[in-house]
């Protein structure tokens, strides 16, 4: 079961999460549990776009322009990706105060 994406939400790393970019991939480390989660090149890029974008809608637009993928497929992939990272306690979503997007 995947989360429905709310375009006004913004992705942020949890306070106890450390993200380290490696040469191609990256590691997300939960400092509290000392559990880690590896992201490949695509996953690293997706997460970086989501973290940098003011909200999920903007991130979605950027990723849609970047990858050859249908809108439905991208939305499903983003939702599944965010679910997995949230399950591991690595990220959370907050409401974008500006409401942009």
């Amino acid at each position: 079961m995947t989360t429905m994406l709310d375009g006004n939400q913004k992705v942020v790393l949890m306070e106890n999460t450390l993200m380290q970019q490696l040469e191609y991939d990256s590691v997300l480390l939960n400092l509290e549990t000392e559990q880690y989660f590896g992201l490949d090149e695509v996953g690293t890029y997706m997460l970086q776009v989501m973290l940098d974008a003011p909200n999920l809608h903007k991130a979605y637009e950027l990723l849609l322009a970047e990858y050859e993928v249908t809108p439905q497929r991208l939305e499903a992939d983003m939702a599944r990706f965010l679910d997995e990272l949230m399950e591991h306690g690595l990220i959370t979503v907050t409401q974008d105060d500006d409401g942009a997007g």
């Binding site: 380290q20 490696l22 040469e23 991939d25 590691v27 480390l29 400092l31 549990t33 000392e34 880690y36």
Partner: protein
């Protein structure tokens, strides 16, 4: 394809292959040579992977070979897991290092980050390739009490009990500490660099501090050894503490030479090598950097170094420290003979022969206090027995 250099003839097939792979850090064509050598010598990936794992080089080899199509998928998959796990472990080390450095800075204690931590900051731009087994920090001897108190307040405790309180400060060059946790965090706090009373008495640490460079670890300020001091330390560490063995350690030295190739002051290095009586370790290590690793060491420097003659004291200490399988008794005798002054020797002797009861109970797992006196003769007997242990 280049003709194989003469040095290749003396190495076993897997070592040749690994050296060629690791040289890929410094010259691209080395990876093509590695592949050609692998095919020509009919190497078996399982054997190679086992050796790489044993040398703790898996993450580094993965970083070098991940884009090579000739790396089997199954091996690449396993190495990737090790690489990611190492990245996580090193991230924990760096977070911890920052915490310690900030705490030390808070009490006015300067620290030099040594070995893996320093190489991570100065040479590798990626936390994943180089494994770290502990954190190594150098502090000034005068700062030791404050440093230990500060680090203990962060949850660290000595890994080994001292025979008598203060014996480590008087006769050793480091204290091993550990913070227990899901991932244990070992820390070695150094105040001198080599594990021999000879060097502890003669090695002036001033030069290492004066030539240190400032560095930032995850936002925390610290120092790392200057290029010449780092090269000197790592070379002597490899020769004296690892008997010249271990590709991981020699690779570190090659990285330092390559990274600082335009900045290294070779004359300054040679001057310090003579002053510190570290001629033999450098004579063993530096030529290999040029021969095996292909990193630029000036011919003039190698010739000058080769012409140096080590003092009889240095030769004796080098022989003692690099003797394989040194028995407890021989180590004890070597330490005692390397000390200057009878008073100092007697103090050492008395503390080694009659350790504190708390140490005795922990060391020999003595269940009842009344049994403790009987374990002193047992300790001496074990020591005497080890005299007959042959130093091969």
């Amino acid at each position: 394809m280049r003709k194989n250099a003469p040095w290749l003839q003396n190495l076993d097939a897997i070592t040749r292959f690994l050296l060629l792979c690791l040289r890929g850090r410094f010259e691209e064509r080395a990876l093509d040579e590695a592949r050609a050598w692998f095919e020509r010598s009919l190497l078996d990936w399982d054997q190679v992977a086992q050796r790489i794992y044993g040398e703790a080089l898996t993450p580094l080899c993965y970083a070098l070979l991940r884009e090579q199509r000739w790396l089997p998928q199954a091996i690449a998959g396993h190495w990737h897991e090790v690489y990611m796990h190492n990245a996580m472990r090193n991230m924990l080390f760096l977070v911890e290092l920052e915490r310690i450095l900030r705490a030390l800075d808070g009490v006015g204690v300067s620290a030099i980050v040594l070995k893996g931590g320093a190489l991570m900051e100065s040479i590798y731009s990626n936390v994943a390739p180089r494994p770290m087994s502990d954190l190594d920090l150098l502090v000034r001897r005068k700062d030791l009490p404050a440093a230990i108190k500060t680090i203990e307040a962060l949850g660290y405790a000595p890994r080994h009990q001292e025979e008598r309180p203060g014996i480590a400060f008087a006769y050793e060059n480091e204290i091993a500490l550990q913070r227990p946790g899901r991932e244990d965090m070992p820390l070695e706090l150094h105040w001198s660099l080599f594990d021999s009373p000879f060097y502890q008495q003669r090695l002036s640490m001033d030069w290492f501090w004066q030539t240190a460079h400032s560095a930032v670890f995850e936002g925390a300020r610290a120092l790392i050894l200057g290029p010449e001091a780092q090269l000197l330390h790592l070379s002597a560490h490899l020769a004296l503490h690892h008997h010249g063995q271990g590709l991981r350690w020699s690779h570190d030295i090659a990285e330092v030479v390559y990274h600082y190739r335009t900045a290294l002051d070779w004359d300054m290095l040679l001057k310090q090598v003579r002053q510190f009586q570290l001629i033999l370790p450098l004579q063993k290590t530096l030529p290999l950097m040029a021969q095996h690793w292909g990193v630029p060491v000036p011919q003039k420097t190698l010739a000058q170094l080769a012409a140096f003659t080590a003092s009889s004291d240095e030769q004796r200490i080098f022989h003692q420290m690099t003797a394989p399988n040194r028995s407890v008794a021989r180590r004890f005798w070597h330490d005692l003979s390397a000390m200057s002054g009878w008073r100092r020797r007697l103090w050492f002797l008395e503390r080694k022969l009659f350790p504190a009861t708390a140490y005795m109970r922990q060391r020999y797992q003595i269940s009842s206090a009344w049994l403790t006196p009987f374990f002193y003769p047992y300790r001496w007997w074990l020591g005497m027995q080890s005299i007959f242990h042959k130093d091969t």
